[in-house]
Point group: C2
C-alpha cells in the first residue's frame, strides 16, 4: 500500500496508477469533485443537491452580469482549483474588484454570497462495497476564512435538518463514488435551508473532534474504508465535544505553554502536528469534551489561545 | 531520549547509564523491586505493606519448614528473578515436589498460597517531581496463570477497600521512588484483606483497558511521567470497560476473524501487536465499554474467543 496526500495530484497521474493496477482510494473519478469546484457544482446540480446560485464566469463584466441575474453584489469568486483555508476565494463588491481572480489563468466560479446563520459540516465515510456511516452534524466557526472552532453535535440543530444534512452527505458520497472520508461543508441559511459550500475527500478539520469525541475517529474509519474493512461506530462518546485549532503565534517555542495547558486541565487533549510554528499556520488542535457546552468551549478556547499566545493567564 | 524495555536489564547496566548522565526512568533503585521478588518483599515489609506470608528458602527441607511455620502445604515457590505470566512460579503440595525451583540456581521465595476471593490491580503513575494519579482499581481474572479478563472498575468492590488499595499503590510508588507507571497486583482475601502479589513498573496488562476506557491511557500517562509532563486524568469514560487478551490459537492467519469481529460489533476496539501467532501467546487484546456489564463482558469475550478460534459463530 502506498499512502500519500493525493488531493492535489492531477487526475491523469492517478489514472496512470489505476491503469498499472494500483487501487486508488478515493479514485480519480470521485476525487475530481474535490479538486475542481466547477466539476463539483455541475455534479451537485445534476444530482439535485442544493447549492448557492453559481456559474462559471469569463471576465469581470460577466461577474457583473452574474450579480445582476441575482441580488447584485457582493459576489463570491473562486478559482476552480487550488484554493483552501480562504485562499483562492474573493468576495467582491463591484466590477472593479473582480479582476484579480482571473489573473491566475484558472477558470473562475461565481457564487452568490449566502446570508447564512452558521456553517455546518456533515462528515461521512464510505467503503468500497458501499457500507457508509455518518458522524453527527457539527457546527464549524470560521475566523478570517479559517476554521477556528468545531462543536459536535451542532448546538440546537433541528433534528429534521440534521437528518437531511446527513442523508445529503451520504447521497453525495454514493453518487460520486467516494471511498473513505467525505466532509460536506454546509451553509445553514436564515430561512432554514442547507446549501453545500465545499467538499473534501479526506479526514477533515471539521472531524478532528472525533479523535477524542467519537467511538471511532475519522482517521480510523478512513483507513478502514480504504482497506475495505467493516466501519466503526461514528457516534459521540460525550454530550459535547469541542475542537479548537491551534494557530502559530509570535513564539516559535510552545513548550512552556504546552506544560501550562496540561497542568491546568488534565482532561485536555492536545494534538500537535510537529510543524514549524509560523504566524497563522495550523500547527495543532485541542479537543475537550463533557456535559456542559459552555465549560467545554471555555476549556478548548483557553488552551488554543494560550498555546498561540493570545491568552497569557 | 532512548526508549527500551529495561525491566530485564541488569541493575549495574542501568547504573552505568546513569553514571554517564543519562536519566533512567524508572531508575535502577526503583526498578530492582520489580526485578527481584526478594528485594520487593523485603521493602514492602519495611514500609508496612501487607503481603502474603513469605521468606527466602534454601532447599526443599526449608520449604517444608516454611510450610510447618504456617498452615502447611500447599506452598507457592517463586524464583526471585525472571518470572512472568506464571513462569518461574510453582505451587507445591509436598517436600518431594519442591526440588524443581532450586535447579535454576536463583534464590527461591516461598509464599503462603493465599485463599483469595479474586485478584485486583491498582495502577498508578508518578512523575519525577512527585505528582501522582490513580486509575480505578480493577478486577483481573487469570486463566492458567495468565491474565485473561480485566474489568474496570472492579465490580462490587467496597469503596473503602478501593480507596485503601489506591492509597497503598500510591504509597508504594512514593516509597520506592517509582517514575512512570506502577501496577500493583493484589489478592482480595475472603476475610476482607488486600495483599500485594506482584509489582510491575511499566504500562501493564491490567491497565490496557485504559486505552479506550479512561480519559488518559496508561501509555500516555507513562510517557508524560517519564518526560515530567503534567499527568492526565485517569478516570474512566464509561461505567464499565472490559479488556480480554487475545491469545494465539491454532490458526496463524486471523484476518478473516478480524473482519468478522469488526462487522459484528462496530464499537469493538481491537489492538493487535503485530506478533507471530503462537498457541497461547498474547498477540493482542480487545476492549469494550458501555453501561451494562454483562453486555460489555459478552462482547469482549466473544471477540477474543473468535480471534483465537475457540468460538466459531
Amino acid at each position: 500500500m502506498i499512502t500519500f496526500d493525493h488531493e492535489h495530484v492531477p487526475t491523469e497521474h492517478l489514472r496512470a496508477l489505476e491503469a498499472d493496477g494500483i487501487p486508488v482510494r478515493p479514485g480519480p473519478d470521485a476525487l475530481v469533485h474535490a479538486q475542481d469546484k466547477g466539476v463539483m457544482r455541475a455534479k451537485l446540480d445534476a444530482i439535485g443537491v442544493p447549492c448557492p446560485r453559481h456559474r462559471i464566469v469569463s471576465d469581470p463584466q460577466d461577474v457583473a452580469a452574474f450579480a445582476a441575474e441575482g441580488d447584485g453584489f457582493p459576489v463570491v469568486l473562486k478559482t476552480v482549483r487550488g484554493g483552501y483555508d480562504g485562499k483562492g476565494v474573493w468576495v467582491v463588491d463591484s466590477v472593479e474588484e473582480a479582476a484579480d481572480p482571473f489573473k491566475a489563468g484558472v477558470p473562475v466560479l461565481a457564487e452568490e454570497k449566502v446570508d447564512f446563520l452558521r456553517e455546518l459540516a456533515a462528515n461521512v465515510v464510505r467503503s468500497p462495497h458501499g457500507q457508509a456511516v455518518a458522524y453527527p452534524v457539527v457546527e464549524s466557526r470560521q475566523v478570517n476564512g479559517v476554521c477556528d472552532t468545531v462543536i459536535a453535535p451542532a448546538p440546537g440543530l433541528d433534528e429534521d435538518l440534521a437528518v437531511r444534512a446527513s442523508e445529503m452527505a451520504l447521497n453525495i458520497a454514493k453518487e460520486l463514488g467516494v471511498v473513505g472520508h467525505l466532509a460536506v461543508e454546509l451553509f445553514q441559511t436564515r430561512d432554514g435551508r442547507i446549501l453545500v459550500n465545499e467538499l473534501a475527500m479526506r479526514p477533515h478539520n471539521s472531524g478532528h473532534w472525533s479523535m477524542d469525541g467519537a467511538v471511532t475517529s475519522q482517521f480510523a474509519n478512513h483507513v478502514r474504508a480504504v482497506l475495505d474493512l467493516p466501519l466503526g461506530d461514528p457516534r459521540p462518546r460525550a454530550p459535547w465535544t469541542v475542537m479548537v485549532n491551534v494557530l502559530g503565534g509570535d513564539y516559535p517555542d510552545m513548550y512552556s505553554a504546552y506544560l501550562h495547558c496540561m497542568a491546568r486541565d488534565p482532561q485536555l487533549k492536545i494534538h500537535m502536528y510537529g510543524k514549524d510554528v509560523k504566524p497563522g499556520r495550523k500547527v495543532g488542535h485541542v479537543n475537550t469534551y463533557g456535559d456542559d457546552l459552555d465549560d467545554v468551549l471555555e476549556r478548548a478556547g483557553h488552551a488554543a489561545g494560550y498555546l498561540r499566545g493570545t491568552i497569557t493567564e
